[in-house]
């Protein structure tokens, strides 16, 4: 705990210090060093200090208002892993900005400090203080490129979403906290408060239909901020839900579980469908965050449902699966955002339809993006598979016990989300990196082997460590962070399975090696030629004729037209032999924003304009309102 405090002091110190450094390069260098080194310490600490039983100085007042327990440490581990790599990444990424970045770095530190605060607060006022600090600092970070109109628009939506979320949480906390404002274990008879909490945290986590700020804010922010926001900040919503679940006892657990599961399924499936229709790389990734939050919620909901059925072991596995997926998603989503930042930095293109063939020019970025794509699709050998496997495992074993309904829905929705995510990421990867460039991308593009590459490779390594050695990594993670739950006897089975999975990887690797040798031997006696792609006899193929991102997913978007509802623009062609150029384009819609929020907002605007006389601008009138309100409150109390 004490080391966490020291880290906080360092962060606060440097946040103010960074306001005074004039030179941008020096600023970036110092801060990225400080951030990565102290985050690295943080990673070590969060794994070690959980064992720390005694304290160096009596600090009862700290323990009264702050948690230092398993959940906080686990989520802090997630935070520090990401801030470590983002710290390294930022140094070279931020070179593209010519304007002074003092305020940017100040907010960056503030964001991290406030997230540590949120994870440790035991008191609702302190919690909300940090929660709002987090909202504002991230708002300023999103607004880094405030010259662009779209960024301002996105920031505004983000600000409103944060405001509403905090309001909901304030209401909920006023009911469940004790007289000092501390969180307490509480028994709830009705689910109303729970609904408030779910909505309040959901606005941060960004599940559907509360997601609309996410696909706006993520693309507008700089890539390192998107990585932090998507990797860690939206997980604060998940943390809140997990924390509240640990506090609230209720007689209708089953209902709560069903609600979370239902929300999770909706966000997972709709998230991936909206992502499929997107052409813009960072928007696509933002929608995938929604999908993955959905998967985490599916696991959480499943764990609550299984607990209410009395299947405690399986419920725990689902719960640990949810937490592991939180970590995994943080890792691969930050990886993807960071590599997309590298792509946009070098090519200045963010539209998938205009990219292509970058694999040869940017091999390391290409490799990182490939690993990130495979991991987020939940494919074996990487970490995403391990957490999804735990969820599947819990659900399948519950079916064996005779509990069908929700488990089957969970399994099938995970399956459909998995396959669609695979379609979406094969689309994204191949549109960016494979084939030929679709637009004349400058030939002098070269990948600089700098800190950006290094930070991505670190995250790739994390993906592989968890993916290839699930036994060791899960045992380490869970026995360190959740020793209370971690009774090795319960886990023998799933750990044994992880051993088998690692073993099968060994088999597969050796097969690949053997068949590679076979291929080499066969190639030795025959000639290898290099030529053009076979174009079926057509002599002049142009790169524009390649299958693009939207043509790749066209069958899927067509099938789900009733949900995705992309707008397509094309002229009517009347000639038999068209002589001039025609253009066809599709534009994915923000369905919820246009279909639900905009009509409601318009109605509200109309309604409130009728009451505009209340806001007359006269100070005396406002004082009168305050007076009336006070009198009313006094009368009410009497």
């Amino acid at each position: 705990m004490i080391i966490i405090l020291i880290l906080l002091v360092i962060f606060i110190l440097f946040s103010f210090l960074s306001l005074f450094i004039k030179n941008n390069n020096k600023l970036n260098l110092i801060n990225s060093l400080v951030l990565s080194i102290s985050s690295f310490l943080g990673i070590l600490i969060s794994a070690v200090s959980i064992y720390q039983k005694y304290d160096y100085f009596k600090a009862d007042f700290i323990y009264k208002y702050f948690y230092f327990d398993y959940y906080s440490y686990f989520f802090m581990l997630v935070l520090f892993i990401i801030s470590f790599s983002v710290g390294i990444y930022s140094k070279d990424y931020l070179k593209k900005y010519a304007k002074p970045l003092n305020f940017f770095w100040f907010n960056f530190y503030l964001l991290i400090i406030s997230m540590i605060g949120v994870l440790n607060s035991k008191n609702s006022f302190i919690f909300l203080f940090f929660w709002e600090t987090m909202a504002f600092s991230s708002f300023f970070l999103v607004m880094t490129e405030y010259e662009k109109k779209s960024v301002v628009n996105a920031g505004l939506i983000y600000l409103i979403a944060n405001g509403i979320g905090a309001l909901l949480l304030l209401t909920a906390f006023s009911i469940i906290s004790d007289s000092n404002g501390n969180f307490q274990s509480i028994y709830l008879k009705n689910s109303f408060v729970y609904l408030l909490i779910l909505l309040g945290f959901g606005l941060k986590a960004g599940f559907i239909p509360l997601h609309i700020w996410l696909p706006e804010a993520h693309p507008s922010a700089p890539a390192n901020i998107s990585a932090i926001m998507s990797g860690v900040m939206i997980k604060m919503g998940i943390y809140g839900i997990v924390r509240m679940n640990s506090l609230i006892n209720s007689n209708n657990y089953l209902f709560i579980g069903k609600t979370i599961l239902f929300i999770g399924i909706i966000s997972a499936i709709l998230g991936v469908l909206f992502a499929l229709a997107q052409h813009e790389i960072k928007k696509l990734l933002a929608y995938h965050s929604i999908e993955n939050i959905g998967i985490i919620l599916i696991a959480l909901g499943l764990s609550i449902i299984l607990r209410s059925y009395g299947l405690y072991d399986l419920s725990l596995i689902a719960f640990l699966g949810a937490l592991l997926h939180t970590l995994n998603h943080a890792v691969f989503k930050s990886l993807l955002f960071m590599s997309s930042g590298t792509i946009i930095n070098t090519t200045h293109i963010s539209n998938l339809e205009e990219l292509g063939g970058l694999s040869k020019k940017m091999p390391f970025t290409s490799f990182s993006f490939l690993i990130g794509s495979a991991a987020i699709s939940g494919l074996p050998f990487l970490n995403g598979f391990i957490s999804e496997f735990m969820i599947y495992y819990a659900a399948f074993n519950a079916i064996k016990e005779g509990f069908y309904s929700f488990n089957i829905i969970a399994i099938l929705s995970l399956a459909i989300v998995g396959t669609l995510a695979l379609a979406c990421f094969t689309k994204a990867y191949s549109a960016i990196f494979l084939g030929e460039p679709r637009t004349p991308i400058p030939h002098n593009i070269k990948e600089k082997k700098d800190n950006m590459i290094l930070s991505m490779l670190i995250l790739v390594l994390v993906c592989f460590i968890i993916g290839l050695f699930p036994y060791n990594s899960t045992q380490f993670l869970f026995s360190t962070f959740f020793p209370k739950f971690f009774n090795p006897l319960n886990y023998l089975d799933i750990l044994k399975i992880f051993m088998y999975i690692s073993g099968s990887y060994l088999f597969i690797f050796s097969f690949i090696a053997i068949f590679h040798l076979v291929k080499r031997a066969a190639l030795k006696q025959s000639c290898v030629e290099y030529s053009n792609t076979w174009d079926c006899g057509y002599a002049m193929p142009s790169p524009k004729m390649q299958y693009g991102a939207s043509s790749f997913v066209q069958p899927i978007t067509e099938f789900f037209r009733f949900i995705i509802n992309s707008k397509s623009d094309y002229p009517k062609i009347n000639e038999y032999f068209p002589s001039k150029e025609y253009h066809f384009s599709t534009h994915p819609r923000a369905v919820f924003q246009e279909g639900i929020y905009k009509p409601i907002g318009d109605k509200l605007k109309k309604l409130s304009s009728r009451f505009s006389f209340v806001q007359s601008g006269s100070l005396r009138l406002y004082i009168l309102y305050i007076l009336i309100a006070l009198v009313f409150l006094i009368l009410w109390k009497i």
Binding site: Y393, F396, T426, S531, S551
Partner: protein, 306 residues
């Protein structure tokens, strides 16, 4: 005994799958009133391809180079895990079928990327369809596994199939039959056969699998063709384990029954291919949704029975 069966399994999965394709082709030829190619034709083709040179497109990257080997190794591994004639695969654990389904997902990932790597719009078409149709295929596969796992109350391929005895057909006939039908659809779509795709066509705008391997040549093409026959062998083994469970018969008889059931499935595929036309491409999702619904009906039967 264990070692011998594993040895047998490796030998079978390495050498028999091309014969499976040969039988299908022979049946098709007989139906068409032709003598047809020899059942061993694919062996000759593979041998020929192994000795041929390779042409790589300049557009391609390392993915294209490594994909055939990776795909072949993965599907070879999946075949080794599949239990047959009452003996477990090389490994068996609780939830191994989830692992295998995701291995199949990895195969799809690589085949799509290797197709897209060429930058040809033909191959893009095939890749797009592969990505889309597999959504339904995987759903039906998962649902069939859920049904099997709830019939046998087991959660690994080996324990499911060792509990799935011939006598179960007397009590669970409807459910098992529906699962077999649904899995047959999955087999046909995953192996890209009629009515979803026609393996005989080249250069048609409606192909799926054949078009994805258009740019592969020489050894790479051999691995791809071999892998696709192994994939068919994998799904056929799965169906044969339900259709004619051979676990109770001991090794030699069980093995005979296994080979017989594989032969039967190949014949059925041959008959389907010679009596049916390929459905229109736009109707394929509906047909696949149908196979998912069949599995769903099986599931409903299973739940309301017990």
């Amino acid at each position: 005994m264990e070692n011998i069966t594993i040895f047998f399994k490796v030998i079978i999965t390495l050498f028999l799958p091309p014969l499976f394709v040969g039988i299908i082709n022979k049946v098709k030829a007989l139906f068409g009133g032709r003598e047809g190619q020899s059942v061993f034709q694919l062996y000759y083709d593979l041998f020929k391809l192994f000795n041929k040179g390779i042409v790589y497109s300049k557009t391609t990257t390392l993915i294209f180079y490594y994909a055939p080997i990776i795909i072949f190794s993965l599907i070879f591994f999946s075949n080794l895990v599949m239990p047959c004639c009452g003996f477990s695969g090389i490994l068996s654990f609780n939830g191994d079928f989830i692992f295998i389904i995701y291995i199949l997902g990895l195969i799809r990932f690589f085949i799509i990327l290797s197709a897209m790597d060429c930058g040809s719009s033909f191959e893009g078409m095939g890749a797009s369809r592969e990505a889309w149709f597999s959504v339904f295929g995987e759903l039906a596969f998962f649902l069939s596994l859920i049904v099997l796992s709830s019939i046998t109350k087991e959660n690994s391929l080996y324990s499911i199939f060792s509990k799935l005895k011939l006598s179960l057909w007397t009590t669970n006939s409807a459910v098992l039959a529906l699962v077999v039908i649904s899995m047959f659809f999955v087999l046909l779509v995953e192996a890209s056969r009629v009515p979803f795709d026609d393996p005989n066509t080249h250069l048609e705008l409606t192909m799926i699998h054949e078009v994805m391997i258009l740019d592969n040549s020489g050894v790479d093409f051999a691995f791809m063709v071999y892998a696709s026959s192994l994939k068919m062998w994998f799904f056929a083994s799965f169906i044969s384990n339900i259709l004619l469970p051979s676990g109770e018969l001991g090794f030699s008889y069980g093995f005979g029954l296994y080979l017989f059931s594989m032969f039967l499935i190949a014949t059925i595929i041959g008959i389907i291919e010679s009596t049916m036309a390929r459905v229109r491409l736009l109707k394929v999702p509906q047909l696949l949704l149908g196979s998912f619904l069949i599995a769903l009906v099986a599931f409903v039967f299973q739940v309301f029975k017990g």
